[in-house]
């Protein structure tokens, strides 16, 4: 398992796999196979994939700890950047066909529509995370500060789920699934933090 996880081929494989949804969207766009409302279908697909990659990214740390697979960390940045990649596509399907590439029209819409506000906020908050994802930036920021900054991903995930929830008219099953997943992944972090601080206190008490 270790060998598989640390192989550069696995990483390349995950990379290619992460591009499959994009390739399919391009293929279906070119072949006019996106249904009666291709724009909407692209908007929904890119939004869905952005949320999925956010969830994948949030899975890394809990899975590392639960299954004792520290090597999983090798995939976190890539998955996070793919989340950003699909968020960018999602954003451009909105800025283009919906807002005619007009930034002023878009900003008006962002201010006016709560569900757009949240989606846009999640997109904007992900930009610094993508920009500081390089090894050089981690070094420059320092591990602790970098980590603090990258906790913004929790906020992004919550914003993205509410953004989806506020979009749907009445059938809330899909946003609910994402909501439950994000909630579980964040809950694990809270519980894990409590546990580690409690055990840290216990060891501190034992050594003094």
């Amino acid at each position: 398992m270790r060998a598989i996880l640390t192989s550069k081929w696995t990483k390349a494989g995950v990379f290619m796999l992460s591009l499959v949804p994009f390739a399919l969207l391009v293929w279906n766009s070119v072949g006019n196979k996106l249904g009666a409302n291709p724009v909407e279908s692209l908007q929904h697909a890119t939004g869905d994939w952005a949320l999925r990659f956010l969830v994948f990214t949030l899975c890394i740390t809990p899975f590392r700890k639960m299954f004792h697979l520290p090597e999983l960390i090798r995939f976190r940045r890539m998955l996070g950047l793919f989340a950003f990649f699909y968020v960018c596509l999602h954003f451009f399907t909105y800025l283009g066909p919906d807002q005619n590439f007009s930034l002023s029209a878009m900003l008006k819409d962002v201010v006016k529509r709560p569900f757009i506000t949240l989606g846009f906020a999640a997109f904007v908050l992900m930009i610094p995370l993508a920009l500081t994802s390089t090894a050089g930036m981690i070094r420059r920021l320092g591990g602790k500060r970098w980590q603090q900054l990258h906790r913004l991903i929790y906020v992004c995930a919550i914003l993205a789920v509410v953004h989806y929830y506020w979009l749907v008219k009445s059938d809330i099953r899909k946003p609910l699934v994402y909501g439950v997943l994000v909630a579980l992944l964040l809950l694990w972090r809270i519980l894990n933090r409590r546990k580690t601080t409690a055990s840290a206190k216990a060891t501190a008490a034992a050594t003094t």
Binding site: G35, N100, K112, S170
Partner: protein
């Protein structure tokens, strides 16, 4: 889960009780009935969409209408594969798949309430109320997309005149067919069924209000509200109830499904109005299916000259 039995469509109604309790007589009648069916097949009996993906019976003669637009029509494929019909699922592509086996024969529409002549219409009787016309209308969904469809039907006012509303009747309430057995996806729709809608009586009498039995020269596809529905082109699409089974004339303003779910988002009138936004999205623009960029939405969906008079003096920001 509520298992509502539709009071209008039971086998006891289709076959008179006196007949189906007497088996011998029933069988004899059946023989006569099938002979009749062979001798004089009516357009409706030919349709039998239960074994066809689309109700493919063509209407022979259709009058043209002065109310038709000459804009480019959407394709039959688009109009039959991009539907909001929540009884058959909430994805736009669900109704095309899930309504395939929807049984629309036999069918009847009950007209009741404050009318001098309450009665039940069979599909055959409905088709004979008035000459069928083709009406090419713009259709604007509350979700900010639109289509142009060649509907087939006749002015709803023709039916109203037949049943003679009493002076008490101020509104018309509509009810859709609902049967959880045939519509199991309805469980997850998040709205209550049967679907209900309503109009003010003068709106129902407007010449644009169409009692619709077909489109593209044929009977309605199941996913588009077969076998009979309303078409109200100046209102958001959800006002145009599908698979109609009950029409009730009444003094009180009827309840309507989306208004019950979210009264701040969907009003009773729900006239297409680019100046009054949905709380969550803009109504000033719409995407015509087949186009990439959005186009401007027109007041009353472009039908102002025929319908605006009904709302003069009304605050349309309040009565959205």
């Amino acid at each position: 889960m509520l298992l509502r039995k539709n009071p209008d469509l039971t086998y006891a109604d289709v076959t008179p009780r006196s007949v189906y309790v007497d088996r011998r007589k029933f069988l004899k009648t059946m023989g006569v009935a099938s002979a009749l069916a062979v001798a004089g097949p009516k357009v409706w009996e030919l349709a039998s969409p239960s074994n066809l993906v689309f109700a493919a019976t063509k209407f022979a003669t259709l009058a043209k209408s002065q109310y038709s637009t000459n804009e480019k029509q959407n394709t039959f494929q688009d109009v039959t594969h991009y539907n909001n019909f929540y009884e058959f699922g909430t994805d736009k592509t669900d109704p095309a798949k899930n309504a395939v086996n929807f049984r629309t024969t036999p069918w009847s529409v009950a007209v009741e309430g404050d009318v001098a002549k309450p009665r039940k219409f069979t599909m055959d009787e409905i088709l004979k109320i008035a000459p069928l016309e083709e009406r090419i209308y713009r259709h604007r969904c509350v979700e900010a997309w639109s289509i142009v469809v060649p509907w087939i039907g006749f002015p709803f006012s023709a039916l109203v005149n037949l049943v003679e509303p009493t002076p008490k009747a101020k509104y018309v309430a509509f009810t859709s067919y609902f049967d959880l057995g045939q519509m199991p996806q309805a469980r997850y729709a998040g709205i209550d069924f049967p679907y209900v809608e309503g109009l003010r009586l003068d709106e129902a009498m407007n010449p644009l209000a169409l009692l619709c039995v077909g489109m593209y020269g044929e009977t309605l596809a199941n996913q588009d509200g077969a076998p009979v529905r309303m078409i109200l082109p100046w209102k958001y699409g959800f006002k145009s109830i599908k698979s109609l089974v009950k029409i009730r004339f009444q003094e009180k303003q009827p309840r309507s499904t989306w208004n019950i779910l979210a009264p701040n988002e969907y009003g009773f009138y729900s006239n297409v109005n680019p100046t009054v936004d949905h709380p969550r999205w803009t109504q000033s623009k719409e995407r015509r299916l087949g186009e990439i960029f959005k186009r401007n939405t027109l007041m009353f969906n472009g039908y102002s000259d025929i319908v605006a008079g009904m709302y003069s003096g009304m605050d349309l920001k309040k009565n959205y």
